[in-house]
């Protein structure tokens, strides 16, 4: 290894090269085996991940700078237009929210009547996406919230329109999340119109989801909104997931072929919200407090 003759074209073999590569191959296979079976290597991943963090920040800097530049050089005219639009939108939202408050009160009353436990309020925190498609083999992204902010494995990720995915690996300052469009991802949902429960599976395509387990005579049609049912345990219930696009009933098959389009714009998100469906006792994020549906 140590040699100052590295530039000379000495035909001598590098000492013990074959042995070294053999040892490394065995170590790699062992690592992969352990990594695939158990989560014993989380600590290793986290510490190496922390070492890579500065590189991520540097890589992310130009993108951040560009958006900052875009924001700070918008013309006054554009800003005023934007402001007007936002004011109108706020008015609309407020009006809706008023109705919502009344509905929530009514809901609580009815639930009390039914002797059901009042639903917990969800806590959210905005996270920024640091890099998308970190890994070409699956649909995942890296966000700038890690275990020191209270993120945990399996945590739900939503954007303004609907569910984006879930955290699969928390680092100290960053986490990796899997999108619902990943072909390894499945999510229990229900049809908002009639409460029909089913499962949404990712296809590997960013704008298409599959519903493989809908029976032929089920009451489902194009345009139906699918919301999380909360039955999987990972996701809080009531968040929009997708809109049914096509329903093809196949008489010869037990299940109909149903596809849906994700409600969230999975390919374009820059900010996502992490959801704590149970109030955190010790580590409450201070951003916002949005009630569950």
């Amino acid at each position: 290894m140590v040699s100052s003759r590295e530039n000379s074209s000495n035909p001598a073999r590098i000492p013990a090269l074959g042995l070294r590569v053999l040892v490394l191959i065995i170590v790699s296979i062992l690592l992969m085996y352990i990594d695939n079976r158990e989560n014993h290597l989380d600590a290793v991943r986290k510490s190496i991940g922390a070492a890579v963090y500065p590189v991520r920040v540097v890589v992310d800097a130009p993108v951040r700078f560009w958006s900052w530049l875009g924001e700070s050089t918008t013309s006054r005219n554009d800003m005023e237009l934007e402001l007007g639009r936002l004011r109108a939108e706020k008015l609309l939202t407020n009006a809706r929210l008023q109705r919502f408050t009344a509905l929530e009160a009514e809901n609580a009353r009815l639930r009390a009547l039914l002797d059901a436990r009042a639903r917990v309020r969800d806590q959210v925190r905005v996270a920024e996406i640091m890099s998308v498609d970190a890994n070409p083999y699956d649909h995942s992204l890296v966000i700038n919230v890690g275990s020191q902010d209270g993120a945990f494995d399996g945590q739900a990720l939503v954007d303004a329109e609907g569910v984006v995915g879930q955290v699969i690996e928390t680092g100290l300052m960053t986490s990796q999340a899997m999108l619902i469009s990943d072909s390894d991802h499945a999510l229990p949902v229900e049809v908002n119109r009639n409460g029909l429960r089913t499962i949404v599976v990712g296809t590997g395509e960013i704008d298409r989801l599959d519903l493989p387990f809908v029976v032929n005579n089920a009451d489902i049609r194009a345009g139906d909104l699918l919301v999380t049912s909360g039955l999987g345990g990972a996701f809080p219930s009531g968040y929009p997931v997708a809109v049914v696009e096509t329903v093809t009933r196949l008489p010869q098959e037990p299940y109909a072929s149903v596809t849906a389009r994700p409600a969230a714009s999975l390919g374009q998100v820059r900010e996502v919200m992490l959801i704590w469906s149970k109030p955190l006792a010790e580590n409450v994020p201070d951003d916002e407090d949005v009630p569950d549906e």
């Binding site: 100052s4 090269l17 074959g18 790699s28 062992l30 990594d35 890589v59 070409p136």
Partner: protein
């Protein structure tokens, strides 16, 4: 002597960090599968040129970093890169005298081997991926190799005369 060696290593480390940046840089969805394997190309170049300083050990460590930053199976890229480095060291004298066209063809074969190893490990671990994620980087990697070669040769000779 020590200072001399570290000043010779620094540029290589800089190119490797640059390669890591290019690897984790966000790209549009359509271009994602065609991102060249920058680190594999860098490993091929540096182990070919300086096989006593940069060989399988370095490649393995870089592979582990790559695994962590991409969230793949820990050891997957490490194994593939170590084998690429081993092959390169074995044939480095031959590769140094190859004309550029033949060298590019060799690099194509190496990148194909690299992607095949990743594909094979994915298969064993039952990770599903579209085929373009495998052959895309091989093609773009081969295309950028001649340019990268000129750039890295520049880096190498500058540091040798400077160091």
């Amino acid at each position: 002597m020590n200072r001399d060696r570290s000043s010779r290593r620094l540029p290589v480390i800089m190119t490797l960090i640059l390669g890591l940046m290019l690897t984790i840089m966000p790209l549009p969805d359509a271009a994602g599968p065609f991102r060249p394997d920058w680190l594999a190309l860098l490993i091929i170049f540096w182990t070919m040129q300086l096989p006593r300083t940069w060989s399988v050990g370095t490649a393995w460590v870089i592979g582990i970093i790559l695994d962590v930053s991409q969230g793949t199976l820990l050891g997957q890229h490490a194994l593939a890169l170590a084998i690429i480095a081993f092959t390169t060291v074995r044939f480095h004298l031959l590769m140094r005298v190859f004309p550029q066209l033949q060298l590019t063809a060799t690099v194509f074969a190496m990148l194909a081997l690299y992607q095949f190893l990743l594909f094979w490990i994915n298969g064993v671990a039952s990770v599903d991926a579209p085929a373009v994620a495998y052959w895309g980087p091989v093609i773009t990697g081969t295309l950028v190799w001649p340019i990268l070669y000129i750039f890295l040769s520049g880096v190498r000779y500058r540091t040798r005369s400077g160091g």
